[in-house]
């Protein structure tokens, strides 16, 4: 019997001809990524277990991207970056994106593709649950803890239970003009639940996916973890190749699911019949349509994170915000420094995106994770009290963005922008019919 894309990658990296779901295999790791929150404890476990003077298994394969707690005065958070800096120097690591230098990038999950580390057919582990984002490039990518990361640092290997694959097939030639990948993934998570894909792969397929940009695909795979998925994956194609080859010279070998591969389950969605979606407090699977929630009063809007802080997300939001004064405080946080530069250079009807946001009264932060996960009390955009926020981020469990008393609604950049203009949850179709995007 054939194998799915994920099974093929795990077979190849464990030296087997064939694997079946449920098999436990030791895989060779192509890339290990860590950041400022989990890097320091992973490093200390590595040194405890392999010795103070141990060297990492392959300095070319370890990528360290501080991004979570960067623009804060918290002394403990700053110390964590110092620990990474010292380790990178000691190990002479070529892929360390230090804070305060030209190399600083911002959010790891968007920086990894930008820097050419998301290559089809490879295995990527990261000490962050949203590492699954890289599956958009046909890579096996998943989140791990500090101990597993330390084990990889010393051995270059990790045990993996081969997951079953759930297949989500999208019909329809392309996304309708009012719909974003975020709406689709919120709908799927709402349908299958926050544990609907636990221990499994979510494979996104069909003509609808082939028509999506890499950024759209990354939004889908990014939130596989919000359904409990081990990884999310999209088969590589010409769009993938074009993106990756522009960012790296390294050779890679794409793999594809066999026509006779076995799937745990298959779901079909017609993109043309889908509508803007929202996840209500306090769970990503608490689904409603934007239309059903029209009029819910808001205090704040937030556009940022690995899920919703990419250049296409800001282009979409700018199309709606342009020429409007916003009714509520609206925070803009580009995921990476490259995207921050894009806000200056990309224009909409002749105006740079950043000017559109400034003129509307948005508060604009530096590239980082910022308030997506709360963080220290001085974090930009953090919810510190009983506030209601609509956000392009990926999680809205109690206290995720700061205060337990806050309520967070998750939505696409279109819906968040439309809601920022009106001050209440608003279906973006109202704006998109009258706006040039």
């Amino acid at each position: 019997m054939g194998m799915t894309l994920t099974e093929k990658i795990l077979a190849r990296h464990s030296g087997r001809e064939h694997v079946n779901p449920g098999d436990t295999v030791w895989v060779d790791v192509d890339v290990l990524m860590t950041h400022d929150v989990c890097g320091p404890p992973a490093i200390s476990i590595f040194q405890r277990e392999f010795g103070e003077n141990a060297r990492v298994w392959d300095r070319e394969k370890l990528v360290i991207i501080p991004d979570h707690y960067i623009f804060t005065n918290d002394k403990f958070a700053n110390r964590n970056v110092d620990i990474l800096r010292a380790f990178a120097a000691e190990q002479d690591l070529p892929h360390f994106y230090d804070v305060g230098t030209d190399r600083y990038k911002g959010v790891c999950h968007v920086a990894l593709p930008e820097e050419g580390f998301t290559r089809p057919g490879e295995v990527l582990f990261g000490t962050d649950s949203h590492t699954c984002t890289a599956g958009a490039f046909g890579q096996f990518a998943t989140g791990i803890g500090n101990t597993d990361a330390a084990f990889i640092m010393g051995t270059g290997k990790l045990w993996v239970k081969v997951p079953e694959t759930m297949r989500f097939v999208f019909g329809g030639a392309s996304l309708p003009p009012y719909l974003m990948a975020k709406d689709i993934i919120l709908r799927i998570i709402g349908d299958i639940g926050v544990d609907g894909a636990t221990y499994r792969t979510m494979e996104f397929a069909g003509e609808g996916v082939k028509a999506m940009t890499m950024e759209d695909r990354m939004t889908l795979t990014n939130m596989a973890i919000e359904a409990g998925g081990k990884n999310g994956v999209v088969e590589p194609d010409q769009i993938t190749e074009k993106y990756v080859k522009a960012r790296t010279d390294k050779l890679y070998e794409p793999v594809y699911s066999d026509p006779d591969a076995h799937y745990h389950s298959e779901y079909f969605y017609n993109l043309e019949e889908m509508v803007p979606m929202v996840a209500k407090p306090h769970s990503p699977d608490n689904k409603a349509t934007a239309e059903e929630l029209e009029g819910v009063k808001l205090d704040r809007a937030y556009i940022g994170s690995c899920t919703g802080g990419k250049l296409s997300d800001f282009r979409a939001a700018a199309g709606i915000i342009r020429g409007n004064k916003l009714k509520i405080d609206t925070y803009i946080v580009p995921a990476t420094t490259e995207i921050a530069r894009g806000l200056e250079t990309e224009t909409l009807l002749g105006t740079p995106l950043i000017e559109i946001f400034r003129e509307a009264g948005c508060k604009i932060g530096n590239a980082s994770c910022a308030a997506c996960l709360g963080g220290p009390s001085d974090t930009f955009g953090r919810l510190n009290q009983e506030e209601v926020c609509i956000s392009t981020t990926n999680r809205n469990y109690p206290g995720r963005m700061g205060s337990k008393a806050a309520r967070v609604y998750l939505a696409s950049p279109y819906t968040v922008a439309a809601s920022a203009v009106t001050g209440v949850i608003t279906d973006p179709r109202v704006f998109i019919q009258e706006t040039v995007i």
């Binding site: 791990i144 803890g145 544990d195 636990t198 999680r395």
Partner: protein
């Protein structure tokens, strides 16, 4: 390192479903050192501090997991509903529960990364219950886990419940974590 599949006894702390890693240890507290003894205690102090008050210590809620300025809890076994530990990959989540004194968790299902971190780091044993026990157990009940069967005995209510065998991770749990297991099997030099 202690064997995590040993006999475990103590008071129950009961939680609901989808207790995510931000509730287990809010992101603001992920900054302390896990190796500095004084800072390490803070992870115990803030364990489960993100759980909404009404959900903390079921069935009645409003029971603090940690009293006042203490860094250890009087409870040693968590009984929860579905999908315990969903969300972030932060290993600080199982670590903080161990630091607070938790020896085992009993839940019908776990989020994958939390489960793996609990086992590979050797922090605590995540037992899977047969069905949801979060309504059969009350916070404060005196519990005992017999790992040989395996079963949960509730001495307060005079009941017992079967638990699922640990399965493929039993060797790692019994070894005390992935490093101990890898040394036993020769993957990493002793």
């Amino acid at each position: 390192m202690t064997t995590k599949s040993a006999h475990i006894a103590g008071k129950a702390f009961v939680l609901g479903k989808n207790v995510d890693t931000d509730q287990i240890i809010p992101a603001a507290h992920l900054v302390y050192s896990l190796t500095d003894p004084e800072e390490r205690k803070l992870y115990g102090k803030y364990a489960l501090s993100g759980v909404p008050s009404s959900e903390s210590g079921l069935p009645n809620g409003n029971i603090p997991f940690i009293n006042g300025d203490a860094c250890e809890s009087e409870y040693s076994i968590i009984v929860a509903s579905d999908n315990f530990g969903c969300g972030s990959s932060r290993e600080h989540a199982p670590a903080c529960l161990e630091i607070a004194g938790i020896k085992a968790i009993i839940s019908p299902s776990y989020a994958r990364i939390f489960y793996r971190n609990s086992v590979d780091g050797g922090f605590l044993t995540p037992y899977e219950s047969v069905g949801d026990l979060s309504e059969a157990v009350q916070t404060g009940d005196e519990l005992e886990i017999d790992p040989a069967i395996p079963a949960l005995v509730n001495h307060t209510q005079n009941t017992s419940h079967r638990l699922k065998p640990l399965g493929s991770v039993a060797d790692i749990v019994n070894a005390g974590g992935i490093f101990a297991y890898a040394r036993e099997t020769g993957m990493v030099p002793k």
